[in-house]
């Protein structure tokens, strides 16, 4: 039963990925504007144009181009970027660490802020503090990451200029890392100057991405905590002499956390999607920023590569969330 569920899930995942590939491919082909024309110097001959078209495969029919492209993608060949003249997979994988580190940092902040707000709200349930948590989280929830980013630009870029509002790391630092995971590799190598500078640059974009999710976590976790806190075993813990905060942290949190974990899993893909505009806003050198440049420059192979990578990332995360939910939930396991 379980195996069948997993198999069906895997097949639909493959269908979705294929669908994404078709949509991306079709979209970038119907885009007006000839990318080849933009690459050529003035005075290029017809033969030059034909040569370049053949080089990028634009001389073949659309279904032929799709098959060739998909065949390449399956072997890890995503083509060559038209504007940057480098293999797409290298460019994309070079930027992926920046986006992943940003997303993970945002996720951590969201869980920490949302968790603390939920515990405080549940601890002070029925009081003005809980109303305050409700009001603030409600308002924070309805404002998207893009606007939070702009608020932070104003506060920490102008009013109290303590953080850099553009870039990923101080360009004066000498970084000879083997990967682009500046935080992780910096920690391993003991290069705390790099780690510090990266984190300082990352803080504002990560906060912008984290706030809406933090508000969601605060609301859901507080609700579930309150439901658990009227159960008999929490009463028993109180009778045994634990204070309310200890009851929440030791007993209630573990039992109330599952819906929140599911929410976090599902929302993580939305958070990653938000990096596109937030990276642009903070001139952060990640995938999203590169993607917008690629669209503006009509760099077809690069756009395809980035969109496909994002889609694969989303689909894999959703798959993991679904499967782990099936495995963790005993009711579904025996269903």
């Amino acid at each position: 039963m379980l195996l069948k569920t997993v198999l069906i899930r895997l097949i639909t995942t493959a269908v979705t990925l294929f669908g994404v590939a078709v949509v991306v491919f079709t979209l970038v082909r119907v885009a007006p504007g000839n990318p080849i024309a933009m690459m050529l110097p003035p005075g290029a001959t017809e033969a030059d144009i034909e040569n370049l078209k053949a080089l990028y495969g634009f001389d073949k029919s659309l279904p032929q181009q799709f098959v060739i492209w998909l065949g390449g993608v399956l072997q890890g060949d995503f083509g060559t970027s038209i504007t940057l003249r480098q293999p797409v997979d290298q460019l994309v994988l070079g930027r992926l660490p920046a986006t992943l580190e940003l997303s993970l940092m945002a996720l951590l902040i969201a869980v920490a802020l949302g968790g603390i707000a939920a515990v405080i709200g549940a601890r002070k349930r029925g009081s003005g503090t809980e109303v305050g948590v409700d009001l603030v989280s409600g308002a924070v929830l309805s404002i998207p990451d893009f606007l939070w980013g702009l608020v932070f630009v104003l506060i920490f870029g102008v009013l109290w200029p303590v953080l850099s509002i553009s870039g990923r790391v101080d360009p004066r630092l000498d970084i000879d890392f083997t990967t682009n995971f500046y935080v992780f590799e910096g920690l391993l190598r003991g290069r705390f100057d790099v780690v510090g500078s990266t984190l300082a640059h990352m803080l504002m974009p990560a906060m912008s991405l984290a706030l809406p999710l933090a508000a969601m976590i605060a609301q859901l976790l507080k609700q579930n905590l309150k439901e658990v806190l009227v159960q008999d075993y929490t009463t028993l813990a109180r009778v045994r002499g634990f204070g309310e905060t200890a009851v929440i942290l030791r007993e209630a949190l573990r039992n109330a956390a599952l819906p929140t974990l599911t929410l976090v899993g599902v929302q993580f893909t939305f958070l990653i999607g938000g990096t596109v505009i937030v990276e642009r806003l903070f001139a952060y050198e990640g995938l999203g920023n590169m993607a917008i440049d690629a669209v503006i420059n009509r760099d077809l192979p690069l756009i395809q590569g980035i969109v496909l990578l994002f889609a694969a990332l989303f689909i894999v995360i959703n798959l993991i969330v679904d499967l782990s939910y099936t495995l963790l939930n005993p009711r579904l396991r025996h269903g």
């Binding site: 639909t12 949509v23 309805s142 998207p144 702009l150 999607g273 806003l281 999203g288 989303f314």
Partner: protein, 288 residues
């Protein structure tokens, strides 16, 4: 005892509910009035450049010029007038784009949820594929494909956000379809489409209205984001998004160019979502 504890919060809630409806309506009314009356209320021509008056600060800071209440941008254009004209585009996009998105997504959600089978399989798979795209990147790509302009912005919003309606309305329709009243309508001889329209639709309406309000706020943001990356309408035309993009670039010289349109966007988005929640509670037969 039980009565008092039950009725007390309800009384307080209805008082808060009214405020939650009226405050957003007040702000949206101001925006709508500004949009409609723009030529009458704007103190200056929003496109008029005057390099002698560039980067004038707002009224509460020394060095300002009378008549330029919220200051001027790097080209000497009046910030307040540009915001007032920008309200036109913001409201236009939010009304049209959200309505189109709502119709498109709700119909697909109703069909998938009520007819099930292949309808449901195809629509659900499409939703999955669509949700695998980062929305902002998808919007930028679509506008690049269709060419910049207000029509493309609206089409891009509808082509991306229909999934939000389709998912929620599909789930709610499935729940409603299993209710007894649907069976009795069918037994009474009503056709399936008629049952869907007359029995199920009214019951999913509160959700549709709440989502529609939410979508209006989202549409304003998407337009601002597209203006920000210079893919909405012509960059000369005043939109809140293009003002924000300008303000971001001139942040160290003229922060007010960013601040005021940002406040307008903030309040507008907050108003739409609060209004959506409030209307949902008001029209929900269960909550009444």
């Amino acid at each position: 005892m039980a009565d008092t504890t039950l009725s007390a919060p309800r009384a307080r809630r209805s008082g808060k509910l009214n405020l939650r409806l009226w405050l957003p309506l007040l702000w949206l009314g101001i925006v709508a009035a500004a949009a409609i009356l723009a030529p009458l209320v704007a103190p200056h021509d929003p496109l008029e450049q005057d390099l002698m008056l560039e980067r004038l600060p707002p009224f509460f800071i020394a060095g300002t010029e009378p008549g330029y209440w919220l200051g001027t941008d790097s080209l000497g254009r009046d910030v307040l007038s540009r915001m007032i004209y920008g309200a036109r585009i913001a409201l236009f996009v939010s009304l049209i784009a959200a309505t189109v998105t709502c119709l498109f997504g709700s119909v697909l959600g109703l069909v998938a949820g009520y007819f099930g089978g292949w309808w449901d399989r195809v629509i659900s798979r499409l939703v999955d594929i669509w949700m695998a795209f980062p929305p902002v990147l998808f919007a930028v790509l679509l506008v690049a494909v269709m060419g910049t302009g207000l029509g493309s912005v609206i089409a891009a919003i509808a082509l991306i956000d229909w999934t939000r309606f389709a998912r929620v309305i599909r789930a709610e329709t499935m729940v409603q379809s299993r209710m007894d009243y649907v069976d009795s309508s069918r037994i009474g001889g009503a056709r399936r489409v008629a049952t869907l329209a007359s029995e199920i639709l009214p019951n999913v309406m509160p959700s549709i209205i709440a989502l529609l309000m939410l979508e209006m706020g989202i549409a304003v943001i998407v337009e601002a984001i597209l203006s920000f990356v210079n893919l909405s309408i012509s960059s000369d035309d005043p939109t809140w998004g293009s003002m924000i993009a300008e303000g971001r670039n001139a942040i160290h010289f003229a922060w007010w160019v960013l601040l005021f349109p940002l406040i307008a966007l903030f309040l507008t988005v907050l108003s739409f979502s609060t209004l959506g929640e409030g209307l949902k509670q008001r029209f929900d037969p269960v909550l009444q």
